[in-house]
């Protein structure tokens, strides 16, 4: 639910990001910055609907991967066991088709939800690659500090787009295999063997993206259950989504601004803050109201010079 409307990718210098926000976005940001009963601050990162959507994807992926690879490797011991578990090939295929339908419905929901966010609420697009995605430079030793991400980190974007590509290809090729007669009425018959081939390789890609990349990112590197709980601690936000945290604090700080819409500008720091800088930032974060002051109403991104870095002030 990033409320960034017109991102200004600035890969060549520490130019600030510009956000045009409405009062509703400020309310949203305020509500997402929360404190638990022990007084620890955290951020509500995902809505319940998103958590359910992710769970449906997870469940469908698990069943489809198991039933799919059991059909490919049916002559192995494990494949045979899965076949027995599902009560034979017929019911296994039925399960595969049923969960493919569920996954398809989830994809349609996802696309409709995206359209709603983008067109009605004008606050979608956090998954697009932008100037924050230079984490490889850090990994390859070309940058001294890790990259600073907004709504989604670089690994999250990679897993999203690889999975999106794989699921789209799997859906199309799966349908072509389920309805070969229909497909070959309009397309050459070779589409069916092409689909078989592509379906397998895309399944391998999806399984690798989920089991290697995604599992490493959210479970091995750091146990990140925010998609299930919806929440993320401030510490993790600072580490993984510093730009989003800055944005939320700035937007929440601007809640009582008299003029709407506002243009917020968030510095795109090339380098992560040092330990001293962090302490500073924390102190400043304790007073978001003050921080938001520099974010002044503006007519457009042309007024960059007039705006300030909302965090550093």
């Amino acid at each position: 639910m990033t409320t960034r409307l017109k991102p200004q990718p600035a890969p060549r210098g520490p130019k600030p990001y510009t956000f045009q926000i409405t009062w509703r976005d400020a309310v949203d940001a305020t509500m997402r910055l929360r404190t638990d009963h022990k007084g620890r601050r955290y951020v509500s990162r995902f809505s319940t609907a998103t958590a359910i959507e992710h769970f449906v994807f997870l469940l469908a992926f698990a069943v489809l991967a198991i039933t799919g690879f059991a059909q490919t490797f049916y002559d192995t011991v494990l494949g045979g066991q899965v076949l027995v578990l599902f009560g034979g090939i017929d019911s296994l295929r039925q399960a595969h088709h049923a969960f493919a339908f569920i996954l398809g419905m989830a994809v349609i929901y996802h696309l409709l939800n995206y359209a709603n966010e983008a067109v009605v609420y004008r606050r979608a697009g956090g998954m697009w690659f932008d100037g924050t995605d230079w984490s490889l430079l850090f990994r390859f030793g070309r940058s001294k500090k890790p990259a600073r991400f907004g709504r989604y980190t670089f690994p999250e974007k990679i897993s999203y787009w690889v999975m999106a590509l794989a699921i789209l290809a799997l859906g199309v090729t799966g349908l072509a295999q389920t309805f070969p007669i229909l497909v070959s009425e309009f397309l050459p018959g070779i589409v069916v063997p092409i689909s078989r081939l592509t379906h397998f390789w895309m399944a391998v890609l999806l399984a690798a993206a989920v089991l290697i990349w995604h599992v490493y990112d959210v479970l091995v590197r750091k146990v990140n259950l925010s998609i299930l709980t919806g929440n993320m601690s401030i510490k993790d936000m600072e580490e993984d989504h510093p730009l989003e945290l800055q944005y939320l604090e700035a937007a929440a700080g601007a809640l009582h601004s008299p003029d709407w819409p506002l243009v917020l500008e968030i510095a795109r720091e090339e380098d992560a803050p040092t330990a001293e800088e962090k302490v500073e930032a924390k102190e400043e974060a304790a007073a978001p109201q003050e921080k938001a002051e520099p974010a002044r109403p503006a007519e457009g991104p042309e007024k960059d010079a007039a705006s300030k870095d909302s965090v550093k002030g």
């Binding site: 070959s184 018959g189 070779i190 092409i194 081939l197 390789w201």
Partner: protein, 434 residues
């Protein structure tokens, strides 16, 4: 009270022993067969024939011209040309045995199988049969032509079924095999004409069945299938060149455990049945036929389904087996325009199961071709591209993760060092302050 029965038993014992000895002797003398002449005068005197069947047994066999009542020589009567039996329903049954055939068989004695004909007169012979030979005694006119006997069987089939039961005495294994055969099941449905041992293994000329003869054998009942087979690539090769590689009926259907072609088991094992030869590289090399047919079939939807249907839990058996596309008995090579799988006929063949199959549809099947650079260059290119694409992404995943792990390790070390430094600094500070 008890004395009388005991003494009666004592008196009857020698009589019983005598009868037993007599029966034993008769039995022994009969089973000794045709080569043994009878030597007991008493018996000879008792059984002096009033009329004998006019047979002239070959002298080299050492068979006497004495009545069959005494010798047990089957050929004394049964080598007489034209000797006939009449069943109760009026059917005639030749009782003539060509001795030369008999000598060719693997069996050595008539009474091994003809259990009810061990003695003479045969156990089951009706009394009126006596008059056939003893016509003088009955005052009948002399018969013109070979003798005709009244048989105690309902019809000729009953004779075959009675004899057939004797096969089990030695061939228990084969009897076990036929237990579940479709023929036995047909028989159990009150069809007496379902084939039994003697229908295929012709009695009196029982031999190991050779392949030419074997193929013809089934045509006794399955003529249409035999004609279709004769026109197929397999049947033609067998007939024309006595090709020993081609399958005959029993190679696919089984010899004793004949499986019905509509049985689930037959369909499930069909690819193994054809694959037995068609995946055999040595055999196929002679005819320049690809052995990929089995692997490509199993790799595709129909084959994989058929293979999986054989596994536990499967119920539906509807996917195409080899013979659904290639034909059952009339299999022709695919380059023959008459073949079901020739280019011109392929769409029609697909439509047998997929009525809506369009002209594009047959191309969905690669014709048993592997995805390779020679046969399917386009698919091969796609496969390579996908493999490279997916591998590259997975490689990227691996490299990123390894680098990330390295970074995190370095970070942990740096933090630990900083902590250590801070600690020593603090300690130093404390010391200084002290």
């Amino acid at each position: 009270m008890n004395k009388r029965p005991a003494s009666r038993l004592w008196k009857t014992l020698p009589l019983l022993a005598a009868i037993f000895a007599l029966l034993a002797w008769i039995n022994l003398s009969l089973s000794a067969g045709r080569v043994q002449a009878l030597t007991i005068d008493g018996l000879r005197a008792a059984d002096t024939p009033t009329a004998t069947v006019t047979v002239t047994p070959p002298a080299e066999q050492g068979i006497t011209s004495i009545s069959p009542h005494a010798t047990g020589d089957c050929f004394a009567c049964h080598s007489q040309a034209g000797i006939t039996g009449v069943t109760k329903d009026g059917g005639t049954y030749s009782l003539y045995i060509d001795k030369s055939h008999y000598q060719d068989t693997l069996h050595s004695s008539c009474v091994f199988c003809h259990l009810n004909q061990k003695s003479y007169p045969h156990d089951t012979s009706p009394i009126q049969s006596c008059a056939v030979c003893h016509w003088q005694a009955s005052g009948a006119p002399a018969p013109d032509g070979p003798p005709t006997f009244q048989l105690p069987y309902e019809d000729t089939r009953a004779i075959a079924l009675e004899i057939n039961a004797a096969c089990a005495k030695c061939h228990g294994g084969e009897f076990k095999e036929i237990e579940n055969s479709v023929h036995t099941r047909t028989m159990s449905k009150d069809n007496r004409f379902a084939p039994v041992c003697v229908d295929c293994h012709a009695p009196h000329i029982i031999k190991i069945i050779n392949r030419q003869y074997g193929a013809q054998l089934c045509s006794k009942c399955h003529l249409a299938e035999y004609i279709a087979y004769g026109s197929s690539v397999h049947g033609a090769a067998l007939k024309a060149e006595n090709n020993q590689d081609v399958p005959i009926c029993d190679d696919c259907h089984g010899a004793h455990n004949v499986i019905g072609p509509r049985d689930a088991a037959f369909r499930l094992d069909a690819f193994e049945m054809c694959g037995k030869c068609h995946a055999d590289a040595e055999r196929m090399k002679k005819y320049n036929i690809s052995t990929d047919v089995l692997s490509t079939y199993l790799d595709d939807f129909h084959g994989r389904s058929s293979d999986l249907f054989g596994k536990p839990g499967a119920a539906k058996i509807t996917k195409a087996a080899c013979y659904d596309c290639h034909g059952v008995h009339n299999i022709l090579p695919p380059d023959n325009p008459e073949s079901k799988v020739s280019t011109v006929n392929l769409q029609r063949t697909c439509q047998e199961c997929h009525p809506d199959a369009s002209a594009n549809f047959p191309a969905a099947w690669l014709g048993h071709k592997q995805v390779s650079i020679q046969d399917t260059p386009g698919l091969f290119a796609l496969k390579s591209l996908l493999a490279v694409f997916v591998s590259t992404i997975v490689f990227f995943f691996a490299v990123y993760i390894v680098l990330d792990l390295g970074r995190r390790r370095a970070k942990r070390k740096a933090e630990a060092a900083a902590k250590e430094a801070a600690k020593t600094e603090n300690e130093d500070g404390e010391e200084k302050s002290q």
